[in-house]
Amino acid sequence: MAEPESLLEQLRGHFGDRLADARIEYGEATVEVRPEELVAVMAELRDARDWRFEQLSDIAGVDFAAYGDDEWITEDATHSGFSRGVINPDFGRLGLTGIYGVQEVHEQTGRRFAAVYHLLSLTHNHRLRVRCFAPDDEMPMLPSLTDLWPSANWPEREAFDLYGIVFEGHPDLRRILTDYGFVGHPFRKDFPLIGNVEPRYDPEKGRVIYGPVEIEPRVLVPRVIREDNRYRGQQRAARTEDRADG
């Protein structure tokens, strides 16, 4: 497998400022591209002789609205101890009070929704991850890559379905995984894990109707971010690796 370092070096040399970010993490090359240049850069990545990314392996929609938020204050609460990890029924949504603090929705940053493309070159046997943020949080839009790679069709539909990212120029942007008539984009961080509605049989009407969910949400293990000694060694190792690469 080709070295990601040399690949990234070539890409930096060729694209220069057109790459908003380029780095190596865990031995994998990642570049960030601005949406207005996405199609042009991707076309070059596909066709240029040095890269030949013939295959678009995957597209992942990501919602960064809660990145770095935890549900449990790890350091300050040691005196008082912890209560149970079950709280109010709205748990699992953002913008609500966690056990030891308020979680904010990081909105209107222009870096909430992103599509992450994984490219694979069969000729040179290397991989590249391309990330592109949608500038508008209210109406995330990105150009479609279906003209470059036909395999972009379904994953773009999926990212639209689950995250509401609109792919401009997609020939057939319908929902794909959720139910017919589904409302909302379920993988967004402000969509509750238990959902909003559930179907049930209504004996009076004699048919199945949708009503609000009646599941009681429970969090058995709260989300914890720790920066203690346990993981520091590995983080350090990863960071030094980064420095050596970049």
Binding site: V62, W149, P150, L177, P186, V224, R230
Partner: protein
């Protein structure tokens, strides 16, 4: 003469040849398919969202339920991604066990595929034969992990436990004679490795049996040869991987090209098709089963000769043994922390692909430093194969739809996730 008009046909989701819950809306012109619109998502369980709400280890079991006929390969993809995040490397014995179990899984998957594909196309007998062998491999699954299908056997840093020394035996029952019982338990006298070795001895003969039933069978060839061919260039563009890509003549196998586990230490060949039609894909998969037997044999030999640890010796990631916990406070704390909170991974993102029986199964994990993944994205190979249905089936007959779906080897657990 009456004028033919196109009409719409609803194929599935309750059709027995729809391999689960595929709904195909077909625009037909007489018997010819003009357009196919697959409706998927009827088995959508939001696995990726569920994984965001759980500590890393608790989602391993969910991976089994994605492609529910190649369970351990899915676990392998997920576990590899976590290992990359943590920067740990499982011991070599664990790598060999994983390689061996991945190949067992590949045979399991291909047997399921062969049986049901045959059944769809009208060759009922092969189904009965393949399920006979499948049962033996299920027993191997049960012996190593305790579960016939949803094993949850792989762990970050190795596998749950070492291979057992004894193979479970059939018990006496009023419904079978002592002679039958002896015959059934003949291969089960030794360890799991002995049982697998015995399986590897007789399995190539079984594959010969399937091939006698199908390969030169006139009906089978009429239904498969030249049905829905894909050119190598197109296969790459459409995102094909695994046997679908190799059937089109592209020699691309992650086990060779980007080796993981112990695949760079074992010897095997990668079969490649020439025409890219359904028949070639059939031949490729049948040959893959034979190659898997080769790999399993090499793994058995190595595993016999090299005992050792099967899990990384890092109590932050891998739980201590019961004995350690009983007389060591530190181990008790580690155990408690691991099972209440789990472990935090350093922030960053990784993509870990494995060559699952159906193609490239990739797991993309974004971590923000918490004990739960921030985002998990699974790349299911069948998703891309199924997306190409429309293009592949246009101009073919209704009966070929069944052949194509069989030849795609789709499982909706992973398409819908």
């Amino acid at each position: 003469m009456a004028e033919f008009q196109s009409y719409t046909l609803n194929f599935g989701p309750q059709h027995p040849a729809a391999h689960g819950v595929l709904r195909l809306v077909l625009d037909m012109e007489g018997e010819t398919v003009r357009r196919a619109d697959p409706h998927i998502g009827l088995l959508h369980r939001a696995t990726e969202k569920l994984a965001e709400s759980k500590p890393y280890n608790q989602s391993i079991g969910y991976m089994d339920r994605l492609d529910y006929v190649s369970m351990m390969c899915n676990e392998h993809g997920y576990v590899r991604a976590i290992e990359r995040l943590l920067g740990i490397e499982p011991p070599l014995r664990a790598q060999y066990i994983r390689t061996m179990m991945d190949e067992v899984t590949r045979i399991l998957n291909h047997l399921m595929w062969l049986g049901s594909h045959g059944l769809d196309v009208g060759a009922m007998t092969a189904f009965l034969y393949t399920f006979r062998e499948r049962e033996d491999l299920m027993d191997v699954y049960e012996a190593v992990s305790g579960a016939r299908m949803h094993a949850t056997y792989y762990r970050p840093g190795g596998v749950h436990r070492d291979l057992p020394d004894r193979m479970p035996k059939y018990e006496p029952s009023p419904y079978r004679s002592d002679k039958e019982l002896r015959e059934m338990n003949r291969a089960r006298q030794g360890s799991v490795l002995d049982f697998l070795e015995d399986f590897c001895e007789r399995f190539p003969g079984c594959v010969d049996e399937y091939e006698t039933l199908l390969t030169e069978n006139r009906i089978w060839k009429q239904r498969l040869v030249d049905i829905c061919p894909v050119s190598p260039e197109r296969a790459v563009q459409l995102g094909f991987t695994g046997p679908m890509l190799r059937g089109s003549g592209v020699a691309w196998d992650l086990r060779k090209k980007q080796p993981y586990a112990a695949y760079d230490r074992v010897d095997f060949d990668v079969p490649v098709g020439t025409n890219g039609d359904s028949y070639d894909r059939y031949l490729v998969r049948v040959e893959e089963m034979r190659q898997s037997v080769r790999i399993i044999k090499q793994c058995i030999d190595w595993l016999r000769a090299n005992p050792g640890p099967v899990r990384i010796d890092d109590p932050k990631v891998s739980p201590p043994t019961r004995e350690e916990m009983k007389d060591d406070m530190e181990s008790l704390i580690h155990h408690f922390k691991l099972f209440t909170e789990g472990y935090c991974t350093p922030p960053g993102e990784v993509y870990a692909p494995v060559e699952a029986p159906k193609g490239e199964f990739g797991t993309y994990i974004i971590s923000d430093g918490a004990n739960k993944p921030y985002r998990v994205k699974v790349r299911p190979p069948c998703y891309y194969h199924l997306a190409a249905t429309d293009e592949m089936i246009r101009g073919y007959m209704l009966a070929d739809v069944v052949t194509l779906i069989g030849s795609l080897d789709v499982v909706f657990g992973e398409v819908d996730r």
